[in-house]
Amino acid sequence: MTPAPESSSTSLASVARRGDRSLWKIFRWPLLVALLTAAGLLSALLGDGLWDDLSWCLLACPILLSLLGWRRRQAR
């Protein structure tokens, strides 16, 4: 199977032309992760005890989500 040249390129020139996803769809997950990270960074700074634990639990979100990349599923 030969992939279409455009879809298999790391070139910006080829990806910039196409696209059907809105910015909201692209950035809604990253935005959520950023908000959770910010809450995690602040909670240990502003509180002790449970707030310290909440802090690393929240910071675990981006770490765990990076595991998504290991899924090997078929390309559409």
Partner: protein
């Protein structure tokens, strides 16, 4: 967004990353063990511990503590006393006040018996090498500024990277890595995924790192402001400004500082003329009991001539920023769990840096590139 402005962002991303990546890799790799510096010191048996004594054993006079430190390091003058908890005073001494403190010596002293328990050399050993590689590359202040500048470039790379994330994700689900396509695409998808996940953490650590690299000029500017205010006050009282001699007992300095800030406890006594104090004035840093007030330390200035507390100008925003930048860079403010999270995020940052480097490498070294190279490739 227009293809032309995207190409502009791609140019910014490529060059800001390319210039800073190798330095950032060194910072990320040396930073990981530094997160656990305390734990490593404890495990390697280098941590000095005070012997256990009955609760409520009175503390030794600070003057005795200072004498013990001076006796252990003859010819040196005290710069600071740090109270690190666990009944220990860390005395830092040097040939004179006002050095860059790179060859200062230490004495660890029991705060109840004033016994010297050890003289750790924080400038020696593997961790010290890592620290210098992380902070200044053995080049002092210029080294700090240089690494700070690299940090600014990294923040620029992050901002431009977020802009470039959108066009690359127009047809891709969040979190997806295309394993079945080319190797280059796999690196690209990993780069985008780990980059967007760590964006806030890495920006925080980057910006606070840049601020920390400016700690000496920030403290210096604050000291200048204080000295000016103190001179002004002294001349208004008709007294001689900034007396050089220090006849006041150090214990008295501690006592009056404690009275000035009840509810807080002293963590640092800075001697007159050091970067944390002012000429002619001791500075006692007081720590509060809560998470935030233990970071936002209050400083009490005590005249070395009269032993009285002087109320200096209020703490400026720059100092508050610096005080908050330390924990947010070191990740040492929420116990071991937070440190582990910090280290794992640091590893993700290494993946971002490394994958970015690989992407650039594959593009510019044709022999190792994937088979289907398109003639024009923009962006790394």
């Amino acid at each position: 967004m227009h293809a032309r402005s995207l190409r502009g962002w791609a140019w910014v991303h490529k060059w800001s990353s390319l210039v800073s990546t190798l330095f950032m890799l060194v910072l990320a790799i040396t930073g990981a063990p530094l997160i656990f510096a305390d734990e490593i010191r404890e495990l390697s048996g280098r941590r000095i511990e005070a012997p256990s004594m009955p609760e409520g054993t009175p503390m030794a006079s600070l003057d005795t503590v200072v004498s013990a430190a001076k006796a252990r390091h003859p010819g040196k003058v005290p710069l600071y006393l740090f109270h690190e908890g666990g009944h220990l005073w860390f005395a830092k001494l040097d040939d004179r006040v006002g050095t860059d403190e790179s060859t200062s010596v230490f004495a660890v002293i029991d705060d109840r018996t004033a016994q010297v328990l050890g003289t750790p050399d924080f400038n020696q050993g593997f961790m010290a090498v890592l620290y210098r590689l992380h902070v200044d590359w053995y080049a002092g202040l210029p080294g700090r500024f240089f690494l700070g500048g690299m940090g600014v470039l990294m923040v620029l790379a992050i901002v431009s990277g977020v802009v470039l994330y959108a066009p690359f994700m127009r047809r891709l689900d969040f979190g997806r890595v295309r394993w079945s396509k080319s190797v280059s695409l796999r690196w690209l998808d990993w780069h985008n995924l780990t980059g967007i996940l760590t964006v806030l953490w890495l920006t925080t650590v980057g910006v606070t790192g840049v601020i920390n690299s400016w700690s000496f000029p920030i403290l210096g500017a604050w000291q200048k402001t204080q000295i000016q205010a103190l001179k002004h006050m002294a001349s208004a009282e008709g007294g001689t400004a900034l007396a050089a001699s220090s006849d006041v007992a150090v214990q008295r300095v501690l006592d009056v500082a404690q009275c000035a800030q009840p509810g807080m406890h002293p963590v640092t006594v800075a001697f007159p003329g050091t970067v944390l104090a002012a000429p002619g004035y001791f500075a006692v840093q007081m720590e509060g009991g809560t998470a935030l007030t233990s970071r936002l330390k209050e400083t009490v200035l005590v005249s070395a001539r009269t032993g009285d507390v002087v109320v200096g100008p209020p703490k400026p925003l720059s100092i508050i920023t610096l005080q908050l930048s330390e924990p947010l860079h070191f990740g040492d403010y929420g116990g071991l769990g937070l440190k582990v999270a910090w280290a794992l995020l640091d590893i993700l940052a290494v993946v971002v840096l490394w994958s970015g480097l690989v992407l650039w490498w594959r593009k510019h070294v044709p022999a190792r590139s994937a088979s289907h190279v398109t003639p024009r490739r923009v962006g790394a």
